[in-house]
């Protein structure tokens, strides 16, 4: 199957049904391995056992930005190429991105309390991630507020493209401003500064959460396609009922006007 064939929703649904079991198995395998290695990872010489929070905090923080990136590409697909699945992909990704961002905020807060002495600080990194979370919620609300999916999709696509400016701000906030959040220790010039005992479980957990996102995203896209089919059939049903009512009403009008003439 060529990639272009997936633009057809019916073929896309068939593709999802084929790959979903494999994706579920890959996700379970990666997360199980990651959790096992995270449990075996040694304590950090400064942070002690709280370093274990990193294995879920960092993948979720990465995904919070990555999902917005996916939505940005999908928004370009909606506005520029008018790809039939682009809008579906963006809408299906938003609740997932919001969940990953929420998890990054909560686990970061739970990690911050023992390490920084506070659950929350209004510094650049934390505030920009909170803003990202609010933008996800705004997009979800926009999709729910506008009934016509194509109109909602175009408005959401523009909002997504504007919001994409926040992604580099989040990434470089630790370099541009004075912040209590630590700098990059994996994706940085000169390679990761982290010991392999932590890096390997972290990368496997990141791969596991990425596989989880891919699995849930494809499943949510499938649901969205079905939802639009239901909507389209309901409109067809309503239009049939209207036309039936019109043909029923027409003879009655004639009879009424005829009676009036008598």
């Amino acid at each position: 199957m060529a990639l272009i064939d997936l633009a057809n929703p019916t073929r896309f649904l068939a593709f999802v049904m084929r790959v979903l079991p494999w994706l579920v198995a890959t996700t379970v395998l990666l997360l199980a391995t990651g959790l096992y290695l995270a449990a075996l990872a040694p304590d950090d010489y400064q942070q002690g056992a709280t370093v274990k929070i990193m294995f879920i905090h960092v993948p979720n923080a990465w995904l919070s930005m990555f999902v917005w990136g996916v939505m940005t590409v999908a928004s370009l697909g909606t506005l520029v190429w008018r790809h039939p699945l682009a809008d579906v992909a963006a809408k299906a990704a938003a609740p997932l991105g919001a969940s990953f961002t929420f998890l990054a905020l909560v686990t970061g807060s739970l990690w911050g309390r023992p390490m920084w002495g506070t659950y929350w600080e209004w510094d650049a990194r934390l505030t920009s991630v909170l803003l990202l979370f609010l933008m996800y919620l705004g997009l979800i609300a926009l999709w729910r507020a506008v009934e016509d999916p194509s109109r909602a999709g175009r408005a959401a696509a523009m909002l997504t493209l504007v919001g994409a400016i926040n992604i580099p701000i989040i990434k470089f906030s630790v370099n541009w401003w004075n912040t209590i959040h630590q700098g990059a220790s994996v994706v940085r010039a000169g390679g990761p500064s982290m010991d392999h005992a932590f890096l390997i479980p972290l990368l496997i957990m990141a791969a596991g959460f990425s596989a989880l996102f891919l699995t849930l995203h494809l499943a949510a896209m499938r649901n969205e396609i079905l939802r639009r089919r239901v909507r389209s059939l309901q409109m067809m049903q309503a239009s049939r009922q209207n036309s039936t009512n019109d043909t029923d009403a027409f003879p009655r009008k004639q009879i009424a006007s005829g009676t009036g003439a008598m």
């Binding site: 879920i56 739970l110 939802r227 639009r228």
Partner: protein, 60 residues
Amino acid sequence: MMLGPYAYFIVMSYAVAAAIVLNLIGWIAYDYRSQKARLRALEANGIARRSNGAAELRWP
């Protein structure tokens, strides 16, 4: 595996992550069943999509 004096923060982090992920999985599974049931109900009322063919290339 000893979690030390900060066990509460570590356990809470993993518990919240598990709850959110399970919630997402449950919501998506429920949504799928719900949409399939609505489609079946419409088709039972004689409202069906056009058969496979040219119509399949059109949205939705």
